[in-house]
Amino acid sequence: MNSIVSASLVGAKSEAASKEVVRLVDVHRHFGATAALDGISLTVHKGEILGIIGRSGAGKSTLIRCLNGLERPDSGEIEIEGGSIVGLDEKDLQPLRRRVGMIFQHFNLLSSKTVEENVALPLKIAGVGKAERLKRAHELLDLVGLAGKAQAYPSSLSGGQKQRVGIARALAARPALLLSDEATSALDPETTRQILTLLKDINRKLDLTIVLITHEMEVVRSIADRVAVIDAGRIVEEGQVWSVFADPKAQITQSLLSGSRPQLPEHIAARLSQTSGDDAILSIDMAGTAAQGAVFADLFEALPQSFRLIHGGIDHIQNQPVARFFIAVPMREPALKDKVVQFLTARCARVEVLGYDTDHV
């Protein structure tokens, strides 16, 4: 399988020189006999949004909770802003946690406190005076678009508003890192989109590093720069979001992506034969510059009448075109299929013959 990604690196950010905010080396964590984290190593750079995706039970929650010491690893190294946090006791972790904000799936707002008191709480803990912390709380409520709700209690807010308060609260102490623990999983799609847009805005405005865990590819797709796929406590795949979308290597990644990428229509997939048929069904993946070119126009010109489009499209992820198409190549001339494959492969596409179809229509 050729890599369609390495061939086109248009616009990929160069991060080699930037500052590391998080560094994990071979982190292990066991719960009884099961390994929640089985040798995790990763780094997150300043200003970057890293999406960690996996199924429930994959270990992603344990992983994110290790980053602020809510969970302790059995072995391995965890560094936040260059300082090791492994082995710190609860008391020494407290100042560190003020550098790391966290938002939660169920918001975790204190029901007995008003919105402004919730947002100001991290500052109260840090010993900031009342007038100053309320001023900061109001600034943040402005930032998240909830200026009018300062005196309200969380119970009177909608889910999206609650998460905005959660975000404001997480930012109150001016953290260097924001952890998002399934922050949009309890929200409807529209609200999810708004919250993700807000997070992306904050990331840009404040150059804030964000690590988010999710089980939804759409979350990763819409805001992350880089993605790490975690399965059974291991990172099975990692890379720029657009490149992982264009060329998912691991089985689990492909399965997590199945809802976000064009798939061969089911009725065709169902009658696909592995041996013979009227048409060969091919999948074509392209990314970056390859997907920008007029590949199909060129193909049609070079090999007239050589294919029929079945399904597919071009998506744009991190401003990179990522294309995935399914085509049918007639088998009446046996060499045609190989010519098509050759042509496309030469244009940096990844082509796969999925099977043969006899179209009865």
Binding site: N108, S111, S112, I125
Partner: protein, 217 residues
């Protein structure tokens, strides 16, 4: 009802309020920290300690399993030590408070245990220490339940204070037994029951009102 009887009723009501209020207050002051200690030292608590939890639990269960009437008699030496006498309204406050404290501790424990762990995580993630968690999360979030539980404790104490009449504590229960029951004065019995109903309803109503203002869930 004669004016003398009426005065007696008023005095008994005051004695009941005094006994219930004082022992209730003591049970709040000692029971709440005890309930808090149970939750903090429990498995998964923020100050997990199986030994302390086990010992506290055993002491509380021990006191709670002794019938009140026996506790009343058994505590006479202690009552003498504290109050100077084993008789009267003030003397009854000692056994009442000692019975109510473990009772209230368990009620407070239930309310405190129901506080969402996620809230504790959130405050830990902000850099809060145990004291912050107690002050900003556990107690304020459980406050409606703590108040509702205190109301239940007060009402239970009104019932228990009647038994304290057995050691000459006075109060409405004592009045009902001595005049209403032993002297067949039905009017006194009825009056006492009506006063008790009003008292219990009043306490419950106040408690419910307070819970409603405190509860923002």
């Amino acid at each position: 009802m004669t004016p003398i009887m009426f005065n007696l009723l008023l005095r008994s009501l005051w004695e009941t309020i005094l006994m219930t209020g004082a022992s209730g207050l003591i049970s709040l002051v000692f029971g709440l920290p005890l309930g808090l200690a149970l939750v903090l030292t429990n498995k998964g608590g923020i100050a997990e300690n199986a030994w302390i939890n086990g010992i506290l639990g055993a002491i509380i269960n021990g006191f709670r399993s002794v019938p009140f009437i026996i506790l009343l008699v058994a505590l006479i030496p202690l009552t003498r030590l504290i109050v100077g006498t084993a008789l009267g309204t003030f003397a009854a406050i000692v056994p009442l408070a000692i019975a109510a404290t473990p009772y209230y501790a368990r009620i407070a424990e239930v309310s405190l245990r129901e506080v969402d762990r996620g809230l504790i995580d959130a405050v830990r993630a902000m850099g809060g220490n145990r004291w912050t968690i107690i002050r900003e999360v556990l107690v304020p979030e459980a406050l409606p339940g703590i108040v509702a539980g205190f109301t239940v404790t007060l009402v239970t104490l009104i019932g228990a204070s009647a038994m304290a009449g057995a050691i000459g504590a006075g109060g409405l229960g004592d009045l009902a037994i001595r005049y209403g029951y032993q002297r067949f004065e039905t009017a006194v019995m009825v009056a006492v029951v009506v006063v008790l109903i009003v008292l219990v309803c009043g306490i419950q109503w106040l408690g419910d009102r307070l819970v409603a203002t405190l509860d923002h869930k």
